[in-house]
Amino acid sequence: MGRRVLITGLGTFWGSRVAQALEADPNVDVIVGLDRKEPTVPLERTEYVRSDESYSILARIVKAARIDTIVHTFLVVDSTQMRSRTIHEINVIGTMNLFAAASAPGSTVRTVVVKSSTLVYGADPKDPVWFSEESRRAQPPKAMVERSLLEVESYVRDFAVDNPHVNVAMLRFSNVLGPDITTPLAKALELPAVPAVFGFDPRFQFVHEADVVRAILFVLEGRVQGIYNVAGDGLIPWSEVAAICGKRTFPLPPFGLGLLSAPLTRLGLDLPPELLELLRHGRGVDNRRLKKVGFDYQYTSAGTVAAFVEALRIRGMVSSSETAYQYERDVEQFFRHSPAVLADTE
């Protein structure tokens, strides 16, 4: 019998990418995708459920679809996307409900993969050059998104302790760059000149979006357990990141940046507090644990930046004439469930 997978955050970049990859896997019988937004990529057989992550709905889906694998990608790590209350609802409350549903009596869930972020380590002058999965952060979090992710992780940890028969893997992703994903750092690197805090040249680590999806699928397939950092090899100074992008840097004042953030946002430069700390102190995470269980990266940190630049260049050359995918509920329902559609099995 194949796997029955629930993906939270189907409308997010990661959720849809993972769903697309799982659709190609013959060992996966059922894919249920949950989100508040419609999926932005065409999906063949994933069942999309429009829902918020409320407990009663989650518990019913897990039970009714006999879900055995949960991929929890619906965690907001980009605090510029939405208001902090929404982030709290999605990250903390959503995760709490999800794991409550997964640990209900008679639950069939046996594998859980959570997409967390290296934001949980923070960025502080007292940090070691490399964080291991066991390292603690130097200071309690000030940024709201970091606080919410730490709460999420504590729910995941509780769940893992309470349910020793379930394989729980938590992946902490470093700064993601790639041709298709938009992050605040990517936006900063697309500006004519890259913002940098004067007098600081912190070391940055990147992971390519393809490696992120591959890492999720890797732990899913191998039923890997535990916490893993996911980040490319190498730490690069921010000035060098700008140089690889072929850009100059423009200095932000080293003090009183908080006051500047509102006018900067107006100028199209949305740097949330957690990123300002990162631009000051940087962060490196040790990626050897995931390598040890057999994962191969396809990009180093510098390679990720170079690939990102290359993608930008191509995006600039090729006019985006193809229309974006639009989810049409009735059409999707027709293709999935109408008896008129003949299944295309060879």
Partner: protein, 317 residues
Amino acid sequence: MATVPGPEPKRAAAKTTKTASPTRVSRVGPRGRSTSVALVAVPRPDEPVELADPRRSDVDEWGRSEHMREVARRVYGPLYRGWHRVEWEGLDKIPTEGGALLVSNHAGAIPADAPAIMHGIEEELGRPVYGLADEMFKRLPVVGTMWSRVGGVLAHPDNAYRLLREQEQLALVFPEGTKGTGKTYGERYQLRRFGRGGFVQIAMRAGVPIIPIAVVGAEEAMPILWKSNGLAKLLGVPYVPVTANMFAFAALGPLGAVLTLPAKIRIRVLDPVHFDVEPDQPRYSRSLIMDDSERIRQLIQEALLDMLRQRESVWFG
């Protein structure tokens, strides 16, 4: 510089000078490659593939740049030779390979001992020294970046372990910390507490010897005449000193406050201290750590007193 990869491997040995140039040219290679290779999703064969890593600078994971280090050595060299006339004793006790933790006394408002030790070892032994320091440096714009480019690393147990055990480097630490550099002139050459013995624990865990080093002259290079505790507390810094240099070089203005006095610096390397414990333990006996920490402190203190006894002049040694 047309270096064609020619079919002459047999003659290569005869031309040692020529073989150096192809390696320099090959640096162009990865830069040229990077633009085209990076995007292609490589199908994965069984053997590990060398990933494209299009770096532009030589800044390593610790933030150190050999290029910047070279510039710093060139700038500091005349000061090292002509101003402080640094002299070493027992430099051969520092291993030419393998990790070791160098432990020294620390003195002067802006301590002259750290650059002297790092410069001397790098010039003489040709191997890098990483200076472990307080996070205070990293909070300061410009200074913090410069500090890490010339080999400064935050004194964090994880950093020290990786440097010493995994990368087998030399790391320099001043266990007195700012308590050593914040001494007033009246307290010169009286070693402060050696922290909480963390340096011993790091060496034990990393399985490397500690090499004690005694430095004479840094105290007189920038003596603290008076310091304001209230102002220091207000600014959140370890000490706000009034140094002799501020008066001696008053004509130079603010530059005078950072220029050291031309005291003769003598550095004595003591016998390495090895620990008879298993590396990689999560914890070591507190009493063992404190015994060894105290012993090393004593060794350095005695060496300092001996060197002071032999010293005839602060300026001429």
